[in-house]
Assembly symmetry: C2
């Protein structure tokens, strides 16, 4: 796959199952435009992994071709990889004011250089990136200043929605820019790439106004202190909590590092309005009367080190949950987090709090478009070709069906996987290959030194533990001399383990009795693995990792 001058290519690069979520490449001739540069959080099979980075190998090989990175919005899964990627790809980054503000904070928080070339772009203003003319357009999403991207290429126009929904009564008064979309639809759209996250959900996503009303009522009804947990980047939610607190004559405390940071940044940039004197300082948190207090905090997903989870575990230095507290969890569970959130709610109830959450009160709306909004996007842009992005495979399939239902030719809809290459001319499009992408894992300080072998070993260790076997070998004769030493961890409790391992040592020793006098290390190791593994499995039906260590005496 080498680019020729008159072909356009679109490649979703990474998203850990959510196709193209973290990074997309648009390639024309020898120029590449990158959209988004985010991280994913590991799924539960990626034991010990902190973050997953998109695979930038393709881009780094074509370093000179990469002309810039356009950011759609300031969520981690769209900006979080910048500190890892920019040192390798030192290109300009473009985005709205809040996106650039959050990206700058990200760079500062990470080690390494902060001389990134960040360009704040006002939606509607066209700018050039190599051969591409780019315009951002406003969309509603669960963070202010979110945008989609219109990319005018020599072959035709591409519209990339970013994460979006349509909220006619949003908190900041701004709405997804229908006019721009209608205009570009009239001019002609070659390809639409659109958010599929809620493509299986009928109807419309409710407005943020619904949450505001519920928060108002619940804070009004609460007799004691109110604690609201949500996402730190969901500034409109924070604003609604502030508004409700004003209405009910309560002051507001902000707790949790990322919430404190984001409230500060958003206030400074004018995305959040908190009246003078309304914020509680940390030292006032304990003294302000409960019925005059709202605490805004993190941990709505049950994250183990978050403020709310620490409160639920009676382990927060400043906030101690008490009888009479009302806790509002203003989010929906992200799939995979259900168990942690349930445990957090249970723990809060046990401490005497009343807990309100999206299952029983309308305290959250999702940040993505439902089916009717997706149809509107398809109708406004009237694309020749369509690729559903941002979603699990089933969401893409549902979105593809929606597109067909509103008149996009079924043969012009491509359900892609990360790494797939879609090649487009003015009349035609087709999948032409896959660039081969794989996850890059960040574990602690280091990037890419945990591979699938390491993960497989961790999985095995997690299930049945490890047995280390020291095998004393005579340097002269090469035979086994003296006693084997077996030590286990994570396999069995020490009491029963001592007895079992003593028997195991005899079994292994006996296996060597029948073997030739002189043995090399490989032979010794495999003999230990075989005889010990078999004995242990027979006795316990467990398969601990066996680590034989021949030691020459």
């Amino acid at each position: 796959m080498t680019s020729t001058d008159n072909e356009l290519r679109v490649i979703p690069i990474g998203g850990l199952g959510e196709i193209g979520k973290n990074m997309m490449a648009i390639e024309y001739g020898d120029s590449i435009l990158v959209i988004d540069c985010g991280i994913m959080f590991p799924d539960r099979n990626m034991l010990g992994i902190d973050l997953v980075l998109p695979d930038t190998g393709y881009l780094i090989e074509r370093r000179d071709a990469v002309k810039g990175i356009v950011i759609t919005h300031g969520h981690e899964d769209h900006i979080g990889a910048l500190p890892y990627v920019l040192p390798d790809l030192n290109v300009p980054v473009y985005g709205t004011a809040l996106s650039m503000g959050l990206a700058s904070v990200k760079m500062k928080d990470s080690r390494g250089a902060t001389d990134a070339n960040f360009n704040t772009i006002e939606p509607g203003n066209e700018f050039s990136v190599g051969p591409f003319d780019v315009t951002l357009f406003r969309v509603n999403h669960s963070i202010p200043d979110a945008a989609g991207v219109i990319v005018r290429t020599p072959v035709g126009t591409i519209v990339h929605t970013g994460d979006f929904k349509i909220d006619h009564t949003s908190v900041d008064g701004r709405t997804t820019d229908f006019h721009r979309l209608a205009e570009v639809g009239d001019e002609g759209v070659l390809l639409l790439l659109a958010d599929s996250t809620y493509a299986e959900t009928p109807g419309y996503t409710p407005s943020e106004v619904v949450v505001g009303k519920a928060l108002n009522r619940l804070i009004g009804e609460a007799k004691g202190r109110v604690i609201v947990a949500s996402f730190a980047s969901l500034i409109s939610r924070v604003q609604q909590v502030v508004n409700a607190a004003i209405l009910h004559d309560r002051r507001i405390g902000v707790v949790g590092r990322s919430m404190v940071d984001n409230v500060k940044l958003a206030s400074g940039m004018g995305y959040l309005e908190i009246p003078e004197g309304m914020l509680l300082q940390p030292n006032e948190l304990g003294n302000n009367p409960p019925e005059k207090t709202v605490i805004m905090t993190t941990g709505a997903q049950g994250e183990p080190t978050s403020a709310l989870v620490r409160m639920a575990n009676s382990d927060h230095p400043q906030v101690k949950i008490e009888n009479g507290d009302t806790v509002i969890i203003s989010s929906n569970p992200i799939p995979g987090n259900e168990a942690e959130i349930s445990r957090t709610i249970d723990n809060l109830f046990m401490l005497g709090a009343d807990v309100l959450y999206s299952r029983i009160e309308e305290v959250h709306v999702r940040g993505h478009a439902s089916q009717e909004e997706l149809k509107l996007m398809l109708r406004l842009t009237r694309p020749e070709f369509f690729v559903p992005i941002h979603g699990d495979y089933r969401h893409l399939v549902h979105h593809a069906r929606l597109a067909a239902s509103v008149g996009v030719d079924e043969e012009n809809v491509f359900v892609m996987m990360d790494g797939d290459v879609l090649e487009l001319s003015e009349q035609d499009a087709g999948l032409v290959g896959n660039i081969g992408v794989q996850n890059t894992y960040v574990d602690g300080l280091r990037i890419g030194d945990v591979d699938n072998v390491v993960l497989r070993d961790r999985a095995r260790l997690s299930k049945d533990g490890v047995i280390v076997v020291i095998v004393p070998v005579d340097q002269e004769s090469g035979g086994i001399v003296g006693e084997l030493d077996l030590v286990s961890r994570g396999f069995i409790d020490s009491e029963e383990g001592d007895e079992l391992l003593a028997r195991a040592a005899k079994v292994v020793a006996r296996a060597f009795e029948r073997s030739p006098g002189r043995a090399d290390t490989g032979y010794i190791h495999s003999k230990v693995r075989e005889s010990l593994g078999q004995f242990i499995y027979q006795e316990t039906r467990r398969r601990p990792m066996i680590l034989p260590m021949a030691v020459e005496l």
Copy 2:
């Protein structure tokens, strides 16, 4: 807590967070009646654990007092511990015909004696267990022949609902026995113990009829083969699939061990009616025309070794998913299983199947009562005292509020935890202590030899792996002689690991240069842990388990 003759005690013993789900004890004088004997499946922090058993220590200490076990229904979390408990507590077991049938199969499947004393009881027929007069009453639940328990004690009558809902149009035509409940309510109920699983859900649980209609329509609309996955014990669902298959002139194949076993048992006992010649034999599965085939199978929760998951992974010996297949997942995700189910659905879509599930079609109804049904139960029985059982803590709190809303005195409602002891007289009740219960883990063949230390070690191993350090010690001088040998697993890939571990060996060796010549093993081990741990954390921010092994040369 020693029982005196005129006191009644109720103790929820186990349920892994779902209070009293697996086992309850009712104690009067020196007699104990046990209700249910089930297992729980481990949560994701219980690494490598297969099953969790209720803590029967209290019962075994009072072995002679235990007069019998009453089973409410045949689900694993109510009968699954019988093979583990009966060898220690050889008492009669009572339950409805299907419950006893399933319990017998459980005993046969396990090793050990099968001479259990199982007694089939017709609902409505009173029988005696020590000083207790016991009557089962029918309830609707997601398995046929489910029952609640009325226990008449010298102090008063206890009603235990078991898991229940109310289905006026159930598949087998049987409904929760209102008449019996009204009667006992008229006589006077001292204590109601009632299922709280869906106490946070308003309204009524829909009837199984709703699912039948959806299955009928979807099987009718399908062009090719239809595969329905559900719970093997949900016999009414199997019956509805059979009925829909009849209506659309399809034959039915049964795939998956537990589904095959339960279909056989339920057909034999008359709980399931499959017309002669309708069942596909295993060798016919591949030949029957797709449009004439329905396959009923397991794996609706994404269980890794289940038939559906193997089909989704193209790894099932008999069923290969093809373009044109329709897969119906006839269940709701049990909290914690969402990610596995999503992955299964995605994989099925990728293989070309159309997949229908509860989020997009009404292909499942839950097995537990919602708020209106719970209120009806409270109103029918009119208990003096009330204890919500079977549910996470938040469900118990919601159920307690419901009870107060229908007139149960708030002071007479007790939200209990496993191990709590409720003591009742004719006029009074109160919590008097906790017997102290803890989970017993089954891992492979062995019971109770995995304790919290082992689980902590597995957690650490799963996160950052292990480094084994062989330290050669001179037998005479007690000093370190020769090179240290470091081996890691699950910590870092081999390429980068070799370099890092070589540097680490030098760091550890250097630590010993500054130490006294003669050192005991404890000193050597702690020195290795300290110097190596510090170096590794500094380089990687990881904390692998460090296993120093001093070897005398």
